[in-house]
């Protein structure tokens, strides 16, 4: 009797399972839908107060100032906790900051910096000439006995610095160093209290001990998790270029590490955070359509491109190198891999670098011209579409640069484009460790080295083109190309920007016409997605977002 009653009540087989699947589908679909809609607009008058939450993929490894100052991630925090001697804006223009003026001797070997008075570190000690000398020394030499690294990109020509009086510093170099003043605005050149500099490395590694003079101070931090900054009420020495003086408008900034890109963007979309760092380029348009702000500032530096090793055949032939330049369609790279926020290369340098000139005609995409150049060089197309000469195929190996996330996708597209004009392209992708071991610029096995590098002064180029003065010798030319040696030497020795400008122009033209460098696109290394409530964010020459001027409305 009991059994038959139960049998009458029995549900069709699988009904419970179907309910579970149905419920899961509803929940899943709900999860895919848009979250809290972005709120548009806000008042136009800057307001004080408020807290900003910035979601970042990593907070780097160490907080020892010298060892971490050029980290792509920690630069965000240092930029708010510390000041620099000069300010470099997104157009590469250098303007006064803690150094209110400076002069140099005629051969750019001695510089005198005049410091702004009244600037103090957050421990109330003055940012005076002695503090600046201590910083210059540690940037240049580090302290190997204490595990403090030097700042790698600080000019190697540095000799010494001396405090002439509390507000004047004299800096001497062993050779002309026109790039010195712009380098003072580089992300490594952060002014730190001499008390911090004197601490052992293990204590400097505790961010709470790292004292700067910036508009924010560290309120709390947790290794690998978050850093909370609060504004400094007595801050009153911002660079004039930022068009705001006094304390910062925001009360606090929280940098929170969230490794998953989709969680960072979803948190901004749902209003749980204000800024997501490095969203995928392909997501940007959909966020813009929803009213969010996106920023793709370009840093100052070399464009993304290949430095060709001219020691390796057939790339010792200028026609083959030129064919490579003309065989790449940069517009297609931007429309396929990136978005219209990215720009094609115009030269060796990003177009916002002072001294960069538009040389795009020298390497413009022209498949017919590329084919003609290869025909002239004796490379004939075979039945399989691959060109060959003397029984040898026209091959090229590209090594995707692990420091640029989109590098492999770009290389794959370049391989297709070059395949159409008869190159047989192979792509190798390694992790950072293996890449460092196997792929070295100017190595016989590396024909095309993919360059991504920021700099603050175009004079950096003088140290990479040849092997003169321990140069990096990007093209394997040594000092065999006399014209290149001469141009690089003139750039290095130039005593003024005006004197250097025409030489830089000539140098860019020469390097590109000789096919030594194959430019691809201008680099956007830092991408920001932010709430529309956040206003007046500024971006410096290294594409870091500065929230000193920012406000919530």
């Amino acid at each position: 009797m009991k059994t038959s009653r139960a049998a009458r009540r029995v549900r069709p087989p699988g009904r419970t399972l179907r309910m579970i699947v149905g419920l899961a589908t509803v929940v899943g679909l709900a999860a895919c839908g848009p979250g809290v809609a972005a709120q548009q607009g806000g008042s136009a008058e800057p307001k004080s107060g408020g807290a900003v939450t910035f979601l970042i993929d990593s907070l780097g490894d160490t907080w020892i100032p010298n060892n971490s100052a050029i980290s792509s991630f920690q630069g965000h925090i240092w930029g708010h906790v510390t000041d620099k001697l000069v300010y470099v804006d997104d157009k590469g223009e250098v303007s006064p900051w803690v150094a209110e003026s400076w002069e140099q001797n005629t051969d750019a070997t001695v510089f005198t910096l005049h410091l702004r008075k009244g600037v103090t570190f957050s421990d109330k000690t003055p940012v005076d000439a002695a503090a600046v000398v201590a910083n210059l020394d540690i940037w240049s030499k580090g302290d190997p006995a204490r595990g403090i690294n030097p700042i790698g990109l600080f000019p190697k020509t540095y000799d010494h610095a001396e405090a002439v009086d509390p507000a004047t510093v004299k800096v001497t170099f062993k050779a002309p160093t026109l790039g010195f003043v712009p380098t003072l605005g580089y992300h490594g050149s952060i002014l730190i209290s001499p008390k911090t500099i004197a601490l052992p490395a293990a204590q400097q590694a505790d961010l709470a001990n790292d004292i700067g003079s910036g508009p924010f101070v560290v309120s709390s931090w947790k290794q690998g998790d978050s850093v909370v900054l609060k504004k400094r009420d007595d801050y009153n020495w911002a660079p004039a270029a930022l068009k705001h003086q006094g304390p910062a408008r925001l009360d606090t900034i929280t940098y929170k590490q969230v490794a998953q890109p989709s969680l960072r963007t979803s948190a901004v979309r749902s209003g749980q955070a204000d800024v997501a760092y490095n969203p995928s380029p392909q997501e940007l348009q959909s966020f813009k359509d929803q009213g969010f702000t996106t920023a793709t500032p370009r840093y100052l530096g070399f464009v993304n491109g290949y430095a060709l090793n001219t020691k390796v055949a057939p790339y010792d032939d200028v026609k083959v190198r030129q064919a490579l330049q003309h065989g790449i369609d940069r517009k297609e790279i931007i429309s396929t891999v990136y978005t219209p926020d990215w720009l094609p290369a115009q030269s060796l340098f990003q177009s916002n670098v002072p001294g960069s000139t538009d040389r795009s005609a020298d390497f413009a995409y022209d498949a017919d011209k590329a084919n003609k150049l290869l025909d002239e060089a004796g490379w004939a197309k075979g039945a399989d579409g691959v060109r060959a000469k003397g029984g040898k195929q026209l091959t090229l190996t590209l090594y995707a640069n692990p420091y640029l996330a989109t590098s492999k996708s770009v290389d794959e597209l370049v391989a297709q484009q070059l395949g159409k004009i008869g190159f047989k392209v192979d792509i190798q992708a390694f992790d950072v460790v293996t890449f460092g071991e196997r792929v070295k610029v100017n190595s016989p096995s590396v024909v095309a080295y993919e360059v991504t590098r920021s700099f603050i002064d175009a004079g950096t180029v003088a140290g990479v083109l040849t092997d003169a003065n321990k140069g990096e010798n990007w093209f394997g030319l040594g000092q065999s190309d006399q014209k290149l040696v001469d141009l690089a030497g003139r750039v290095a020795k130039a005593a003024s920007v005006d004197e250097r400008k025409p030489v830089l122009d000539e140098l860019q033209g020469y390097v590109l016409q000789q096919g030594y460098f194959v430019p691809l696109t201008q680099i956007v290394q830092r991408v920001y997605l932010q709430s529309p409530k956040l206003h007046d964010v500024t971006y410096n020459g290294l594409a870091y977002a500065n929230y000193y001027t920012a406000w919530l409305g």
Binding site: A31, T62, K222, G224, L263, S266, V433, G436
Partner: protein, 325 residues
């Protein structure tokens, strides 16, 4: 029994110490044979602008240019005195780095274990109560379903629904109560599967015994039978399974902490593996070995005390323990 037990306990403790020491050495060897080192890898990025001389000087400071056996000896000498060294990447003392994050992982792991036990006992209870054609089959399928669901999938689904849609917790407040609960659910679900499987199998076995049928026929309620007579004998093997799930909890914490943005031992492991930060990695692996060994040691030592059927002869390990019925 007492003398035998003391011998048995001593042997297990010595074995545990050897395992911990081997874990420390093994981690060192595995990381040392990998190409590259954390210091050079960072410095070699051409954007950093270091010369070879500068790189060599820095590598030498960290002693990474010395022979591997010298580095191992120094590391071991430090370890036996309780000094875990300094992180090659952060420059912070390793003991401080572990101390800062340990509490978060302990909280997550114990909460996840509680979730796993609740789920497993819930499944066990349901299986004994529901008739075969009223969902018992579905309940029996749960352990397999839970085992096949990776915790990162569960984690992402929970975040999407409960953080972004319902708004029960905030991604940026990963250590808050609600966020910890959902992280524990994500970590606990796969772990519950193993416990539930063993529990259900043992409940089935005990339920088919004569004493259970007699109790039911004499009018004892199903709930009372479950709680007073079936649960205790069925739960004993679960003690061993719980000891084994500690590894699962620690392994799962690596992914769960990453997904939920928590800072714990798991995220420390992830960071130190990707950056080849040897001192941190050695310390964390050794800590995991210590926890794993301790929990298993505890289970081994407690088992003979809990189950009077287990008899020990002459300090022999439990695998060879004599069970009399």
């Amino acid at each position: 029994m007492n003398r035998d037990y003391a011998k048995y306990a001593l042997r297990r403790v010595l074995q545990a110490l050897v395992v911990i020491l081997l874990a420390y050495v093994f981690t060192f060897v595995v990381i040392s044979v990998l190409p590259g080192d954390p210091v050079t890898t960072t410095l070699r990025n051409p954007s950093n602008g270091f010369t070879e001389e500068e790189i060599n000087r820095i590598v030498s400071y960290y002693g990474l240019d010395r022979p591997v056996y010298e580095q191992l000896w120094e590391s071991l000498s430090r370890f036996v005195t309780g000094d875990l060294g300094v992180s090659l990447r952060s420059g912070l003392p390793v003991s401080r780095m572990i101390g800062e994050v340990l509490g978060s992982t302990v909280l997550l792991a114990t909460s996840a274990l509680a979730v796993a036990l609740l789920l497993a006992f819930g499944v066990g209870f349901g299986v004994r109560h529901l008739p075969r054609n009223r969902g018992q089959g579905v309940l029996r399928a749960f352990p397999s379903l839970f085992l096949s669901l990776p915790n990162f999938v569960i984690g992402l689904a929970l975040i999407n629904v409960f953080a972004f849609q319902v708004g029960l917790f905030q991604v940026i407040d990963a250590e808050g109560g609600a966020a910890t609960f959902f992280a524990a659910v994500a970590l606990g679900i796969p772990v519950s599967a193993q416990v539930a499987e063993v529990l259900v199998a043992n409940l089935d076995h005990e339920g088919s015994q004569e004493y259970a049928s007699v109790a039911l026929s004499r009018g004892l309620g199903r709930t009372r039978l479950f709680l007073r007579h079936l649960l205790k004998p069925s739960a004993l093997p679960v003690v061993t399974v719980i000891a084994l799930t500690v590894g699962e909890l620690l392994g799962g914490a690596v992914i769960t902490e990453q997904i939920f943005g928590r800072t714990g031992i798991g995220s420390l492991v992830e960071r130190s593996v990707t950056t080849q930060d040897l001192p941190v990695l050695q310390a964390v692996v050794t800590l995991a070995a210590v926890v794993f060994v301790l929990v298993n040691l505890l289970a081994d030592l407690v088992y003979p005390l809990l189950d009077p059927r287990v008899r020990l002869g002459d300090g022999r390990p439990r695998e060879r323990a004599e069970v009399t019925t």
